[in-house]
């Protein structure tokens, strides 16, 4: 085989207390689309950041076209020909489209920036990617999909040899993804090496040639896509035997919904967020919201928690108009919500586990009805015990816990408030497999034993298939299907997401 474009050998990276990468090899050839796979925390993004100079590496070598390189900043990596498009579009939305493409390397005339040239060249560049927009408008005029294209335009124009796409499709719809793939294939034909990171298995199998799998910061292996069945891939990612994975599919029996309806939405809409959703959630029911990121599943959940206003249709709780304007209104209606972004909206990092657990209950009681310290301790201990939260003691700061335990504390916080509806938005994201299963089981268990209504949102299809008794499938901020009973299968969901006309 010809010489590899990129060779990373024996890469080590240590963060205080954690070995993030140990002895990892990675090889990329020109004209290849190579996927980097692994569970959250496996070391994918660390490897990418080492390559792009965001983190310095602690050991190993990186060779580009046979020559050793050592980029220390993203800029140096770019100069070597390594460009990255990150998951959250990393551009400046206050600048124009053209400027975003050229900033840092603007063409000049008489020592000053030549705006005409910039606008002309950006227009051309975007046309090549079949995007035809006004490049002199600021970036925030355009939807995320276009912003992503702009980011790619910027990345490929710097004469990149290697293009890293880190979860580029997470906020794109199908058509946009198809367009992106067309561009990626074009770039592949130009002989560029492309590293493609995505959690959508379908897409990996559609576009990639090779897969390198990481687990716990170690290399599992590099495989040809055609020769690696999906189940085997998943088994390698989670580090379990194939049979174990199959076992996981046959989890505990699902919960059977009660007669009583807890919350009912009749063609609700929220301006600019949700177009049309109708659903009926019974007590004792675990309902899943399926759909891609940006399909409106999180927004629907937020609407049920009073974080997004209802601007159309009606939402009823136990038959009465809900009128939720504030999370507190929802909490008084016995609704609880574990948000998607644990760090940003969930944990209060510098408070102790105890304080984090009692916080929702305390907010519900009001600031003048202080929960006595003894009662706080009792509550905290009860939930630490019940959810098997691993802490050194209840006064440990929550920010020092692992992701899975932080998530458990957030769930404990809401259970302490005795909710009748528990909304779990991506409760298993970025946590280890063991805890994942625990949380899934817990969701079903709560519905079964306490008759709690549960909303479960996850981007991992099989997780939803295993836990939910009813699935609401969403696309483009609308409900497109409702699956129950035996219709609930990965295939069924995907078909619904893809739309009837395919």
């Amino acid at each position: 085989m010809a010489q590899a474009l990129l060779e990373m050998r024996n890469i080590d990276k240590v963060f205080p207390g954690v070995k993030a990468l140990s002895n990892v090899d990675f090889t990329l050839h020109a004209g290849e689309i190579h996927s980097l796979m692994g569970e959250n925390g496996a070391g994918k993004s660390t490897l990418v950041k080492v390559l792009t100079g965001v983190y310095p590496r602690d050991g190993g070598t990186v060779r580009l076209n046979g020559e050793e390189i050592n980029p220390r900043t993203p800029k140096e990596a770019q100069e070597c020909g390594i460009s990255t498009v990150y998951q959250e579009v990393n551009l400046c939305t206050n600048l124009t489209v053209a400027e975003n493409i050229f900033i840092g390397r603007e063409p000049k005339k008489y020592g000053l920036i030549d705006w005409k040239e910039i606008n002309r060249r950006s227009k051309e560049l975007l046309k090549k990617l079949s995007v035809d927009i006004d490049v002199t408008k600021s970036l925030d005029h355009y939807p995320v999909a276009i912003q992503q294209m702009v980011a790619i335009a910027r990345a490929v124009d710097v004469d990149a040899k290697i293009l890293i796409l880190d979860e580029p499709t997470s906020s794109l719809d199908e058509g946009e993804t198809a367009r992106l793939f067309k561009i990626v294939r074009q770039l592949q034909q130009r002989g560029m090496g492309i590293i493609f990171i995505s959690h959508f298995l379908e897409q990996i199998y559609e576009i990639c040639d090779h897969i390198t799998i990481l687990r716990n910061g170690e290399l599992v292996g590099a495989y040809e896509v055609a020769k690696l069945p999906r189940l085997e891939l998943i088994a390698k990612m989670v580090g379990k035997d194939l049979n174990d994975v199959k076992d996981m599919d046959k989890m505990a029996e699902k919960s059977v919904p009660h007669e009583e309806v807890f919350i009912e939405a009749d063609h609700v809409a929220s301006f600019g967020q949700i177009a049309d959703v109708a659903l009926q959630l019974h007590r004792g029911e675990v309902m899943g919201f399926a759909g891609l990121l940006g399909s409106g599943r999180t927004e629907t959940a937020e609407m049920m928690f009073g974080l997004k206003p209802v601007t159309g249709g009606s939402m009823k709780i136990k038959g009465k108009e809900a009128g939720l304007r504030h999370p507190m209104d929802a909490m008084k209606a016995k609704i609880a919500f574990c948000p998607e972004d644990r760090k940003l909206a969930g944990i209060i990092g510098d408070l102790t586990v105890r304080e984090n657990i009692i916080l929702a209950l305390q907010a519900l009681d009001g600031m003048f009805r202080h929960i006595p310290y003894d009662k706080q301790v009792e509550l905290a201990d009860k939930f630490i015990d019940r959810l098997k939260i691993k802490v050194s003691d209840r006064e440990q700061l929550i920010k020092n816990l692992s992701g899975g335990n932080q998530q458990k504390v957030i769930i404990a916080r809401w259970l302490a408030a005795n909710p009748e509806l528990l909304i779990l938005d991506e409760p298993t994201r970025g946590i280890d497999v063991g805890t994942k299963t625990e949380i899934q089981k817990m969701a079903v268990e709560l519905a079964k034993s306490q008759g709690m209504a549960v909303v479960f949102i996850s981007s991992e299809m099989d997780e939803m298939v295993r836990t939910c008794s009813k699935l609401i499938v969403m696309r483009d901020r609308k409900k497109v299907a409702e699956l129950t009973g035996n219709d609930i299968s990965s295939e069924g969901v995907m078909r619904a997401i893809a739309g009837g006309d395919n």
């Binding site: 990255t84 400046c92 925030d140 301006f271 600019g272 483009d476």
Partner: protein
């Protein structure tokens, strides 16, 4: 119709247009109320009286653009006036050397503030607030009394009148206008200038795009220090004194001018001509209070504070409009995409 209006409001120049219209309207009212307003010199005096503020505003606009703030500007200005007066009174050094010394002093001070803020990742307002107290204190250490500048060259410079039409402007105005011109070019047409906007828009993005964030941030505070000291020289040319309380509260005047001229306090949006009109509006208000005669000078601060409030609240309103508009346009797009397929 409604959509057009919304579009206009969401435009990044909206606040600038409001400012220009407000300025013209205020001036119109002035002409209608007082005969004196008709004189061209009244207009020129807006510049003459506010030359120092113009220069300081330029500096603070740089800081606001990266999402920072510099509260030390007024105090640096006072320190510069004081040191300049002290040098010209107590040493025999030529004027240009004294000016050079204070310019370097202010610039270095700004650079040190910028370095501390950026290197140690500290909040700019705390450090520059400390800087403000430091400079005020230092001014008092040099002298607690007013020092009058009697140096003939400097006084001659201060008295120089440059005729324009039937009126005149001062040397300070020329410096101010030059500063504005240079700043506008730097912000609009150089890599450094555009990097400032990028950092204000999204600092981590700017870093990931390979822009020199650290250097640029330190430079911005350095520029602010330089502008404050240049403003100090213009102020000294006008007052011919060094005094502990010179430029008291000027940081708010400068921030107000910048914000009134369309600079977003969250960074990333703003431009120099707007800041110019921001200063002019304050000048007109001052002129009103002067012409009125019975109003106490204390009203100026209150009115400017009120004006700053109004414009910040307007900004909040605009930002809200804008996000609504983007949400709507992407909705429209989604819907139209549906009907196409």
């Amino acid at each position: 119709m409604n959509k057009n209006l919304a579009n206009i409001i969401a435009s990044k120049y909206f606040s600038f247009f409001v400012t220009v219209i407000l300025f013209v309207a205020l001036y119109g009212i002035g002409i209608a109320m007082y005969n004196g307003f008709m004189k061209p010199q009244v207009f020129f005096n807006l510049f003459v009286d506010n030359a120092a503020l113009l220069i300081v505003t330029v500096g603070i606009t740089f800081c606001l653009l990266i999402g920072g703030i510099d509260l030390s500007v007024g105090a640096v200005l006072a320190l510069v006036c004081m040191v300049l007066a002290w040098l010209l009174t107590n040493t025999g050094i030529p004027v240009f050397l004294a000016v050079l010394i204070v310019l370097i002093m202010g610039t270095v001070f700004g650079a040190v503030q910028g370095y501390i803020i950026t290197k140690f990742d500290l909040q700019p307002f705390i450090i520059t607030l400390a800087g403000m107290f430091f400079c005020r204190g230092l001014t008092a250490v040099i002298s607690q009394e007013t020092i009058t500048i009697t140096n003939p060259t400097f006084v001659a410079l201060a008295d120089t009148r440059i005729p324009v039409g039937s009126g005149f402007i001062s040397v300070g105005v020329v410096i101010a206008l030059l500063t504005i011109l240079v700043a506008a070019i730097v912000l609009g047409f150089t890599k450094f200038g555009r990097t400032i906007y990028a950092i204000g828009g999204n600092e981590s993005s700017a870093a990931l795009m390979g822009l020199p964030v650290f250097r640029t941030k330190v430079c911005v505070y350095t520029i602010s220090g330089f502008c404050s000291s240049l403003g100090g020289i213009a102020y000294a040319l006008m007052m011919l004194t060094g005094y502990n309380l010179h430029g008291l509260g000027m940081e708010m005047d400068a921030i107000a001018s910048s914000v009134i001229g369309g600079t977003l306090l969250t960074g990333g949006v703003g431009f120099i001509p707007g800041a110019l009109f921001g200063v002019l509006i304050q000048g007109v208000i001052l002129t009103f209070i002067n012409f009125q005669g019975t109003l106490s000078a204390w009203w100026t601060k209150i009115v400017i504070g009120g004006l700053l409030c109004v414009f910040i609240i307007m900004q909040a309103f605009i930002t809200e409009q804008k996000s609504k508009l983007t949400a709507k346009s992407s909705m429209d797009e989604a819907n139209s995409g549906k009907s196409d397929s």
